[in-house]
């Protein structure tokens, strides 16, 4: 058997296993983001949003649609990979892969694509929920899809690195709680940074999530606080760095080999 077909089949196997895993527990993995988003729309969009009025030419409920979709995608992609890979370490079934001839990059690709798949499924559900509350006309399908997929890949990689270093179940919730959630909430989902004082505007530019949310918002609404080129450069740079770092961790066996 040549390496190419082995890699293809191994990738399909890991990907299928990952998709079956989160679909088997769909009530925990796919449904909650839909309910949470509906609550955001009811509270922030309808009840509070009517008092806020328009933001960058859109009603508040329309303005928050892209951010809420992307927030669900970020959380789902990250949590899928971090929980699945950490659980495979905890239960030692990562050894099934380590003893097999699957190259490190295929293992990484399989887990990351599993995270992206969950991000896509959740993204579709949240988008459908959004359509109940807001009238969404997509400005650029290509741009929207590109940001959607790239952001999902980026956070799936981040989840993978978190899982590699995690030694307990606490370790897989610390980063999402204390890092990911603050960055996401302060990433311009619910507001435009133009509303902030200059100091906070400048500080917000250090938040990578801001670039993703704004690029995604541009794809859907056609408005953004930041330059699109810069946003894509930052997303791609993070993907390259996190991929290289993940492969280096796998190659050295950090957290998975003695």
């Amino acid at each position: 058997m040549n390496n190419r077909s082995l890699n293809r089949i191994a990738f399909q196997t890991i990907f299928t296993k990952e998709v079956l895993r989160f679909m088997r527990i769909w009530i925990q993995t796919v449904v909650p983001p839909g309910i949470t988003t509906a609550l955001y729309f009811i509270i922030f969009g309808n009840l509070i949003g009517e008092r806020i009025g328009e933001m960058e030419g859109y009603s508040y409920v329309e303005f928050i649609v892209p951010g809420l979709i992307l927030m669900s995608v970020i959380t789902s992609s990250y949590s899928n990979v971090v929980s699945s890979f950490y659980f495979s370490k905890f239960g030692h079934h990562i050894e099934e892969l380590l003893v097999s001839p699957v190259p490190d990059w295929v293992i990484l690709a399989g887990y990351v694509c599993g995270g992206v798949a969950r991000g896509v499924v959740v993204g579709i559900i949240v988008t459908l929920v959004s359509l109940i509350f807001a009238d969404v006309n997509i400005h650029s399908y290509l741009l929207t899809l590109a940001v959607f997929v790239l952001t999902s890949i980026l956070f799936a990689l981040a989840g993978f690195i978190n899982a590699i270093y995690a030694n307990s179940f606490d370790d897989i919730s610390i980063v999402p709680t204390f890092v990911l959630t603050p960055l996401t909430y302060l990433g311009g989902i619910f507001y435009s940074i133009q509303m902030l004082p200059e100091f906070w505007q400048t500080l917000s530019l250090a938040n990578p999530v801001l670039y993703m949310v704004n690029a995604f918002r541009y794809g859907i609404l056609g408005v953004s606080d930041i330059n699109l080129g810069v946003a894509f450069a930052i997303i791609l740079l993070f993907i390259v760095v996190l991929t290289a770092f993940s492969l280096s961790l796998l190659q050295r066996g950090v957290g998975i080999k003695s």
């Binding site: 082995l6 196997t13 050894e95 003695s258």
Partner: protein
């Protein structure tokens, strides 16, 4: 052809523990080889390194001529591992566990499920193929790990204490299966604490102690070093007032009314013992080895005494 060739293999863990002090080990193709040693001797470290679960500190490992450092893919493709601890996803159905493992070795999905069925049937698990692995008993879980290790048809099967905690009936069935797998050409390396198991199954042994190989030979040669062997004789009629004595050079000792223990030294014919007992009107109904032979030698070697050639 050599199935496994290890040279100067060393392992020092991050905490400074030296697990392997530069071992050499050879296992020939088609062999049934036992790697024995007390707890903490380094058996699992050796297996971990061969199977890429542990990073070695030095030395070389070759499997069927493929070097672990320069051609890890070919090495891994050749090996099937049955580890000591259960290491499958307890929340997956048996069929998926086995089929996924085949997929990791490049077996197409349809063929992977066909092979999974064959292996699960072989290990008598097919009637549970859609059940979650967590619902299995301990013995079934052990069999599942063997089925999983066989699904990609490895040339070298490594079993790390495969029958630990398995009841006698299943253990014997597993022995039969392993003999059959070996007969079909698969090289097998076995670690076990049941020395009777090694004696029944294996043709060659290696004994590792404190990170060093202290013995590597054929089982027959090793057992040949025994100077004397004790047997227990079950008698038809109770024997009263039989003082411990020597009969025709055999040292006899009465354990109870119906049991005698005899020590047979190297070179003595057991036929002459039966003839002499028969002359004295002592009828023997059965006999068994008083101590497992391999166990006796193993204790000698590991304790540093050594049986000598």
């Amino acid at each position: 052809m050599t199935a496994l060739s290890i040279r100067n293999l060393q392992k020092t863990y991050a905490n400074g523990v030296v697990a392997l002090k530069g071992i050499d080990l050879d296992v020939q193709q088609g062999d049934f080889f036992a790697l024995l040693g007390p707890n903490g001797a380094g058996k699992s470290t050796v297996i971990g390194i061969i199977c890429s679960l542990v990073n070695k500190s030095g030395g070389t490992v070759q499997v069927f001529g493929h070097d672990l450092d320069s051609d890890p893919g070919a090495v891994k493709q050749s090996i099937g591992l049955v580890p000591q601890e259960f290491n499958f996803n307890q929340f997956e159905p048996l069929e998926e566990i086995a089929a996924n493992q085949a997929g990791y070795y490049g077996v197409e999905r349809k063929e992977a499920f066909r092979r999974a069925e064959i292996c699960l049937r072989q290990l008598d698990l097919w009637d549970k193929h859609r059940e979650m692995a967590r619902s299995l008993s301990g013995g079934m879980k052990r069999r599942l790990m063997i089925a999983r290790a066989l699904v990609h048809q490895p040339r070298l099967l490594i079993l790390d204490e495969p029958t630990a905690g398995v009841d006698v009936e299943i253990r014997h069935a597993m022995w039969d299966l392993l003999r059959e797998i070996n007969r079909q050409g698969t090289t097998i390396i076995l670690t076990t604490h049941y020395l009777e198991e090694a004696e029944r199954l294996c043709r060659h042994i290696g004994i590792i102690n404190q990170g060093e190989i202290i013995e590597q030979t054929s089982l027959a040669k090793f057992l040949g070093r025994l100077g004397a062997e004790s047997f227990e004789l079950n008698l038809r009629h109770p024997l009263a007032g039989f003082a411990d004595q020597s009969v025709g050079g055999f040292a006899l000792r009465q354990l109870d009314d119906l049991t005698l223990e005899v020590e047979v030294t190297k070179g003595q014919s057991i036929n002459s013992l039966f003839a002499m007992l028969s002359e004295r009107g002592i009828e023997v109904m059965g006999m068994r080895s008083a101590q497992n032979r391999l166990e006796q030698l193993f204790m000698d070697v590991v304790s540093g005494g050594g049986p000598g050639e």
